[in-house]
């Protein structure tokens, strides 16, 4: 996993609420056995019509907006557990998703792939969406160490929460597998103790 410490980038606004992972990557694109190329089909049915022509009104087809930060509406990533949604977003080039709420499984999937989900207050979200719309070239600054998100040259800053362990993983580019395997002895002891208590072995 790539390390994540600080990021400064323009952002893409997508102020739609309850964006489910079926929209991020439709089920028909999940038939492969690798993690590559999902970005081509990110938001497929919002991005292309049934003749595979770009839908000009969709923000990813609007060249005014670009950058590695996606600013989305409330409750982002609900629905299916498919990690392909996180792969599609990272493959497309996003490194940060900002929303006022994230679904649990998506949030975990994002963090496991070096994609930082930043939950901000609804007011802050509205504020930055307006700023981006007014000026698509405006840059957002993410400081993971300080846990802040701010807008360049403007007094607009908010702190965000992140689990201390996950923060450490993001900053150092670690993942959970290494940690879990290093715990193997404890896991085996746990299994052995449970086997003694016959009644509670599942």
């Amino acid at each position: 996993m790539e390390k994540f410490i600080k990021l400064k980038s323009t952002a893409v606004p997508l102020p739609v609420e309850n964006i489910d992972t079926d929209q991020i990557i439709p089920a028909r694109f999940l038939k492969v056995t690798n993690k590559i190329g999902f970005g081509n089909n990110l938001f497929r049915d919002w991005r292309y019509d049934d003749k595979d022509q770009p839908i000009t009104s969709f923000v990813l087809n609007n060249t005014s907006f670009s950058g590695t930060i996606l600013v989305a509406g409330d409750n982002f990533g609900c629905g299916s557990s498919r990690e392909h949604a996180a792969w599609a977003l990272t493959d497309y080039g996003f490194k940060v998703i900002v929303s006022s709420y994230f679904a649990d499984i998506f949030k975990g999937n994002a963090l496991n792939n070096g994609l930082l989900p930043i939950q901000v207050s609804p007011e802050f979200l509205k504020n930055i969406l307006n700023r981006i719309k007014e000026n698509p070239l405006i840059q957002l600054i993410i400081d993971l160490e300080a846990q802040t998100i701010s807008v360049e040259k403007i007094e607009l800053i908010e702190s965000f929460e992140i689990d201390a362990y996950k923060k450490l993983c993001m900053i150092n580019g670690y993942d959970d597998i290494d940690f879990l395997i290093s715990n193997k002895e404890k896991i085996e002891t746990f299994e052995a103790n449970r086997n003694k208590e016959e009644a509670i072995v599942s």
């Binding site: 102020p15 739609v16 609420e17 309850n18 489910d20 079926d22 929209q23 439709p26 089920a27 028909r28 999940l30 038939k31 492969v32 056995t33 690798n34 993690k35 049915d45 049934d50 509406g73 409330d74 409750n75 609900c78 629905g79 299916s80 557990s81 498919r82 990690e83 392909h84 996180a86 709420y101 994230f102 679904a103 649990d104 499984i105 975990g108 999937n109 496991n112 792939n113 689990d163 201390a164 362990y165 993942d175 959970d176 597998i177 940690f179 879990l180 395997i181 715990n183 193997k184 404890k186 896991i187 746990f190 299994e191 016959e198 009644a199 509670i200 599942s202």
Partner: protein
Amino acid sequence: MEKKTLFDKVWDSHVVSEVPNGPQVLYIDKHLIHEVTSPQAFAELEERNIPVFRPNQIVATADHNVPTINQHLPIEDELSKNQLEQLTKNCAKNNIELYDLGHEYQGIVHVIAPELGITLPGMTMVCGDSHTSTHGAFGTIAFGIGTSQVAQVFASQCLLLNKPKSLRVNVEGKLGKGVTPKDVILYIISKIGTNSGTGYFCEYAGNVFQEMSMEGRMTVCNMSIEMGARGGMIAPDEVTFDYVKGKKFAPKGAVLEEKIAYWKTLPTDEGAVFDKEYHFKAEDIAPMITYGTNPGMGIKISENIPNLEDVSFQKALDYMGFKKGQSLIDKPINYVFIGSCTNSRIEDFRVVADYIQGKQKAKNVIALIVPGSQQVAKQIKEEGLTTIFETAGFEIRQPGCSACLAMNDDKIPAGEYCVSTSNRNFEGRQGQGSKTLLSSPLVAAAIAVEGKIIDITKHLN
């Protein structure tokens, strides 16, 4: 003594260790896998040269993109075929039990594990599928995980997790005519919304759930994820024990008795405190249908679509082709899908068969019956339901996820409405441009007969 919830008891007994100021290492008893969310996890392990730690605690099945006709023939879709072959190879290489196409136990992952006695009370279970919450019906902590986590469980039989907060949904009273478990959960989600459960694990309590069959409880727990909760649970009781008894892989004899004695200690202690609680009256619930593009956008069939000023709400109505304040009664429907991990168990099909016996589906309707597993398919045959379905003009298919998420050929054409017993009405969920209305199997059956949306309560004796 500290008062504990059902969730606390099961969770706490599975904690291996704790990261200081961080997550806990949670031991997983059973790991269910299927063809779509496992290949990248197997690849990850292979790249890092890590063996599968506890292959005996993993069960695999083929469900998401299997065809539902001619399952004995080679799969035509190259990509689907490749994914299924990959699963077969990965399972063989790692000594994992696989219920592949053609196996008598094959079926939707959340249907087969309970019916085989793989799901037991007090366990922790995971699967790379958000509807793993289904197994919570047994008083099991069961939840969906991403592919990175599938790899973690392969490698260590554990996951690093922060303990979720606790939520209890109480429903007390007597359910009305034609109100089924699916209506209960659609009603709850319509009232509390699709993100009210985020960060929580939910327990369903009250006499309504106690009086429900195991299959009804599975339908309810299945949709916990649709309110944002990682999972839902119902305390194990005699109904649970009776269901488990005699199942293929369930414990038997003295071992079972010993386990039952333990399972009886699991229900939430009186006086235990939940972080959040909701109360509903059974009498307020009626047969439900959804009108929008998330499962929270549901109404009683007899009600009108609400009048809300909201951009996302309007976007959903535009997609569905509905208007604010509109009634759905008499809306023509050409497709009905009865299946999915929410409603493809034998009881669901009994309800449908009971309603349509002696009736005919409307001419305009294509009505699909897709059993959740080979065993359910067998039951349908043995109980004589096949004749009822066929006489009424319903099409019986072979087991799989089918038109719930349309990864196989069972797609609803663009622009068409489908009344579906599945769990999601997202844009394009059942095929690009398709429009899904979620309902119970009873409501779906009635709509198939009429060819349009009706108020089921007026059609029941």
